[in-house]
């Protein structure tokens, strides 16, 4: 299922088009980190929550950059949205559940949800519901590496690495070094 991209040539007969290379990803994350610190006037009240699985590594990268910029560490949590999905009833088998780990109190903080690709917005809806079960953040913001359009819910990102126009049937994949691939964002068609 989720291992397909690693072990099986999921894109065997698909064409791959690179829309962001390693350098562009690095620059986009650096810019987003600056935007975060600018918007919140520092990071004293800011915490990052990466959405499994695509947002986790990105959240840690952003946290490292924020530390470089502001000189303080930013708490990072991990959120698995599986239990909050809106399509559980429609599935034949329940998806594999991963751990949620938010080791700090989110109440009163500005929580920045981090994900790799913003598409229909359903994941973000689920993530916000999940987050609210942990407390009452002062504010929730959203940082994504790629916004590919085709929203099905009224959800908008606060920080975007790159807006990438896509067709609904195309697949956008983000590969990162932490997951054993070279950094790149590709469209599979």
């Amino acid at each position: 299922m989720f291992l397909e991209g690693f072990f099986m040539p999921m894109n065997a007969n698909k064409s791959e088009r690179i829309v962001m290379d390693a350098q562009e990803i690095t620059r986009a994350l650096t810019r987003i980190a600056h935007e975060i610190s600018e918007r919140s006037r520092g990071v004293a009240q800011v915490a990052l929550v990466g959405i499994r699985s695509g947002g986790v590594h990105l959240a840690h990268r952003l946290a490292a950059r924020l530390t470089d910029i502001e000189g303080t560490t930013v708490p990072v949590g991990t959120l698995d949205i599986t239990l909050y999905r809106d399509d559980l009833n429609a599935r034949k088998e329940p998806p594999i559940l991963r751990k949620t780990d938010i080791p700090f109190d989110i109440t009163g903080l500005t929580i920045i949800l981090v994900d790799d690709v913003l598409f229909t917005g359903r994941t973000i809806r689920a993530a916000m519901d999940g987050l609210m079960d942990f407390g009452r953040p002062a504010e929730i913001q959203l940082a994504v590496l790629v916004d590919r359009g085709h929203r099905q819910l009224p959800i908008k990102s606060t920080y975007v690495g790159k807006n990438v126009p896509t067709l609904p049937n195309e697949t956008v994949e983000v590969f990162l070094e932490e997951a054993g691939a070279s950094d790149r964002v590709v469209i599979l068609a």
Binding site: M1, D80, L83, L88, R91, P94, I96, F134, G135
Partner: protein, 306 residues
């Protein structure tokens, strides 16, 4: 790997991969139980019916909490209050419950195999919560979970199950579970409580408590089922306690970091001395906590396999 089952009837026909998946998933659900808001919307709109033909507080409460933490609606159907006392058969009772659009039936019944019958005939998912002397799969899963949490691995772990092996579904499910996962299992108890040919299940048999406990990493005490002692399996409770009650002196024979488990409710001074039940080696209350998480994982997986 995923679990595509409608029902959970026993440990015997589960694979090692399926067991591991349930235990891994239970870890995530334990995190949910540790939150301030101990509820997720996963089974919203689903109905779980606890159908209990034998008295049980712990298991029923545990299933009820598990279902409620997943946002399911729970109905408790206790035998004394039901129409079973008016002569209705198990199947008719279950069909009536299903006609009310129940999605899960958690069944405890004195007859071995009754959950299998319901599973075959109903659309609802059936979870065996103990059937006669047959199996009690969620108990074994929570015991596995508790041990994995404390000891990390099952391979080479020496486990002694002590008590009335013959009448215990907890013992049977745990023998299947722990031998499957690679642990070395011993059963200890008086000959009158030892089933014939139990060795066939891959366990070592001991009749003497001291000998059975020598060097073990885990001691699982079974409850002496005082309510089932109509037949004379031992002369008196006092004599049973003298020979099979787990005391601090016995603990000295086991491995230094040995753990003590008990499915509850405990009979203090009968099968387990209070000093042992309340000692740091006892994980009895961890078992109860983990039971909710494991049952959440089971309900979560069965919700898909229709």
């Amino acid at each position: 790997m995923s679990l595509q089952r409608k029902d959970l009837l026993g440990i015997q026909n589960l694979s090692v991969e399926e067991i591991t998946l349930i235990l891994d998933t239970a870890e995530s659900f334990k995190e949910v139980s540790g939150r301030d808001i101990k509820k997720v919307p996963t089974l919203r709109g689903k109905t779980v019916v606890n159908l209990f033909f034998e008295p049980s507080t712990r298991t029923r409460t545990s299933f009820e909490l598990a279902a409620k933490r997943l946002s399911a609606d729970v109905i408790n159907f206790a035998v004394s209050a039901s129409s079973v006392s008016k002569g209705e058969t198990l199947l008719d009772t279950a069909r009536n419950i299903e006609a009310m659009q129940a999605d899960f039936i958690v069944l405890r019944h004195p007859m071995a195999g009754s959950p299998n019958i319901l599973a075959r005939l109903l659309r609802a998912s059936v979870v065996n919560a103990g059937d006669g002397g047959h199996e009690h799969p969620t108990q074994a899963l929570l015991d596995l979970y508790t041990l994995r949490e404390k000891k990390r691995a099952f391979k080479g772990l020496r486990l002694a199950i002590v008590g009335d092996i013959a009448h215990s579904r907890v013992a049977r499910s745990n023998i299947y579970a722990f031998t499957k996962m690679g642990a070395e299992v011993r059963v200890v108890g008086p000959p009158t409580m030892m089933p014939l040919e139990i060795e066939q299940l891959g366990v070592q048999v001991f009749y003497d408590l001291d000998e059975g406990l020598r060097g073990v990493d885990v001691i699982m005490m079974l409850r002496l089922q005082l309510e089932r002692q109509g037949i004379a399996l031992f002369p008196s409770i006092r004599e049973y306690a003298r020979r099979y009650c787990l005391t601090p002196a016995h603990m000295a024979l086991a491995a230094p970091d040995a753990l003590v488990m008990h499915p509850g409710p405990i009979n203090r001074g009968v099968e387990i001395a209070p000093e042992v039940a309340d000692s740091p080696s006892s994980v009895i209350l961890d078992q109860v906590t983990n039971g909710v998480a494991v049952r959440m994982a089971v309900l979560y997986f069965l919700s898909g396999g229709k």
